[in-house]
């Protein structure tokens, strides 16, 4: 799509106003007819623009199409870096290091993230946590959970894990055993397979280009 948001905005407003005016020639500005037309025209114009933009958006958010990482991102190192042009942090995908000591093929990776997503929904995680900032506010935002410095500084030694994925998995399988604050995450009875898949899903999510949200993640927190 080659139009800026300002062009779209101006076009939407003018189109609504002009079509309404043409349809309502001769009607007074407070008349029933004019406002009925305004209602119909604005509904149609705005819905049309929404559908058109949605088409563009859907095409741009396919995994691997740029903003959304491919499923195989779980095999890679992920980081955040300052983008001097956009002036916020963007995820960067680094070298292939494997996930739980294994390189996943694209099909395997997709199946694993899928399992993680379904598990996420089945346990209703979103009614305690936010992801991409949406959900409930009882527990931390999970958008960049995979990149949280606490896994290395606190959790890995606590659960006796060698890697971040192992630490996340062990923690998730029994959170009440390692509480970090006053609020406690319950044990949701995750199986080994489900916990692995959830970690994959969280890792994949951390590489989504979110226009810089949450702002300067992990750049200022006490570790």
């Amino acid at each position: 799509m080659d139009y800026t948001w300002i062009e779209i905005t101006v076009a939407a407003i003018f189109l609504t106003a002009i079509v309404t005016a043409v349809l309502s020639r001769g009607a007074g500005w407070l008349s029933w007819h004019l406002w009925r037309n305004a209602m119909l025209v604005s509904s149609v114009v705005m819905t049309g623009i929404l559908l058109w933009l949605s088409w563009d958006t859907v095409n741009r958010v396919r995994p691997g199409a740029g903003r959304i990482p491919p499923w195989t991102v779980i095999n890679h190192e992920i980081g955040l870096k300052w983008d001097p042009e956009r002036r916020w942090q963007v995820p960067v995908i680094g070298e292939e290091t494997g996930f739980f000591g294994k390189i996943y093929t694209p099909e395997e990776a997709k199946a694993l993230v899928n399992k993680g997503k379904i598990t996420f929904q089945s346990r209703n995680c979103m009614e305690c946590h936010t992801l991409l900032g949406n959900g409930a506010y009882y527990a931390p935002d999970l958008t960049r959970a995979w990149l949280d410095p606490w896994w290395e500084s606190r959790i890995m030694p606590m659960v006796g894990a060698e890697t971040r994925e192992e630490a996340m998995k062990r923690w998730l399988m029994n959170p009440p055993q390692y509480p970090q604050g006053q609020r406690i995450m319950p044990n949701l009875g995750l199986t080994d397979e489900e916990a692995t898949a959830l970690v994959a899903f969280l890792k994949w999510m951390s590489a989504i280009d979110t226009n810089g949200f949450p702002p300067h993640f992990g750049m200022m927190t006490p570790r």
Binding site: W32, P63, Q121, L131, G133, N134, G135, D141, D148, G218
Partner: protein, 468 residues
């Protein structure tokens, strides 16, 4: 005030059904408050019921009860006014009554699943039968299908009645188009999406395009009827205002959807589009205030039903403040980047849902219950409804104020200063500015519950030996 009484007017079957709808709505309102109180207490004492009914269970019941009772209440309002508007009994009323039973049974089963099953294994069957796990849309797929069937029957009632009456009004035109859109939008939320960005993209089609577009218009329709009934405002005037409001609601709210597409992986043009159009969303809400205050003034508040009149005015202001002001507060991307996903959204959610929708449903309930028993007193009035209204409003204002403070603390400490990590989150909720709000929220929850009890008593005693 001299109390005039009148005989029991004959009710249409559809109006009797409307009363049953309102009874379900009010009962679920009570359930909503109860689970909200438990959720609020769990934020104070996180070990409370941790193993029996964890936070997500109570919160799910809290928000789902809300969505269902408000929708049930508004549908009830349409069943109430439709025969008056068309001058005939609703077509397919038997079917509608059967669907009411199915609705009650479905809600009971769903509450049972939420409370006692809570969640399932990470399989597709869980999403179909137990839990879909998306905020507001937790209901498993079978419930989604049931809801679509329910809305379809309702839509059939409306359209068939209008056709049979051979009378189409501006209000009915708006109603029919709005209900078609409302039902169609719900199906956008009925798909499993592996890609989380697409998942949330479609999720907002339901959540935002319901509360900020189609529900808002449905409320406009119900308000139009209520104004005509309560004050005797002329149809021409009411319809013209309705058109202005719909033009503005759809003109700003449809692209205003973009304020939820800032940070979920969708392209950057949504930052500008969403910010611009959503910041204009308060416009129709201002128009509604002007409209109702003008009409009330022009008719010198002379009405047949005092509590209904009160909730009508409360709706206009509540909608403007809760949705318009508290929404605007966090809708520009430069602010939302820091406030997104904090309890500031919950502050706005409480004020807006209460102001826009709870007030509407209470208004409708009072209208429908006015003639519950003979002799009917005109204007309907009592001491109790004033206490109920005052406590409900005090409660929601207190809860929202507490959420505003905790959201402000999260925005500042967790997001802006702390960088949104796990540690920053703990820094946020243990900060005194946040921690101190928890007790207040809980306290005002009890205030609200008290108001609710008075409301139920008042409704149950309408027409029983009343002296104004």
């Amino acid at each position: 005030m001299s109390a005039v009484t009148q005989g029991q007017p004959k009710l249409y079957e559809s109006q009797k059904l409307a009363r049953w709808y309102f009874i379900v709505a009010i009962a679920l309102f009570g359930a909503q408050l109860l689970f909200g109180l438990i959720a609020a207490y769990q934020q104070i004492n996180p070990r409370f019921l941790l193993d029996v009914a964890p936070f997500m269970t109570n919160r799910t019941l809290h928000v789902n009860a809300m969505v269902v009772w408000l929708l049930v209440g508004m549908v009830g309002g349409v069943y109430w006014f439709l025969p008056k508007e068309t001058g005939r009994e609703v077509v397919g009323i038997t079917l509608a009554k059967i669907v009411w039973w199915v609705l009650v049974a479905g809600v009971a089963v769903l509450v049972g699943i939420y409370l006692f099953v809570q969640y399932g294994p990470g399989k597709m069957t869980t999403l179909w039968f137990i839990m879909e796990g998306r905020e507001y849309l937790e209901a498993p797929r079978w419930v989604d299908i049931a809801i679509v069937v329910w809305v379809a029957v309702f839509l059939f009632n409306v359209i068939a009645t209008v056709l049979a009456s051979r009378r189409i009004t501006g209000i009915l035109t708006v109603l029919i188009f709005d209900l078609v859109a409302l039902g169609a939008l719900y199906t956008a939320g009925m798909h499993y999406q592996l890609n989380l960005t697409m998942d949330q993209f479609l999720w907002w089609w339901v959540v935002h395009l319901w509360v900020e577009a189609t529900w808002e218009v449905l409320v406009g329709v119900l308000m139009a009827w209520s104004l005509m009934y309560l004050l005797g405002v002329s149809r021409r005037l009411v319809e013209t205002w309705l058109f202005i409001e719909v033009a503005l609601v759809f003109g700003t709210g449809i692209l205003g959807l973009g304020h939820h597409y800032f940070w979920i992986g969708t392209p950057e043009y949504w930052l500008g589009l969403g910010g611009f159009f959503s910041s204009l969303e308060p416009l129709p809400l201002v128009a509604m205030v002007v409209h109702s205050v003008y009409d009330a003034g022009a008719h010198r508040l002379g009405t047949v039903n005092k509590p209904a009149m009160f909730w009508l005015i409360a709706q206009a202001f509540g909608n403007f403040i809760g949705a318009g002001v508290w929404g605007f507060m966090q809708t520009l991307p430069q602010i939302n980047m820091f406030s997104h996903g904090t309890q500031l959204a919950a502050a706005h959610g409480h004020l807006a849902f209460f102001g826009a929708y709870v007030a509407t449903v209470l208004l409708l309930v009072y209208i429908a219950f006015q003639n519950l028993r003979v002799p009917v007193q005109v204007p309907l009035d009592s001491r109790l409804w004033k206490w109920a209204a005052a406590l409900l409003i005090l409660g929601i204002v207190g809860i929202s104020a507490a959420f505003t403070l905790s959201g402000f603390t999260q925005t500042l400490i967790e997001r802006a200063v702390g960088g949104s990590t796990w540690a920053a989150f703990i820094q946020g909720y243990t900060h005194p500015w946040y921690a101190n709000t928890l007790g207040w929220r809980y306290f005002f929850g009890w205030v609200m519950l008290t108001g609710y009890v008075l409301l139920v008593i008042d409704l149950a005693s309408i027409g029983k030996k009343r002296t104004a």
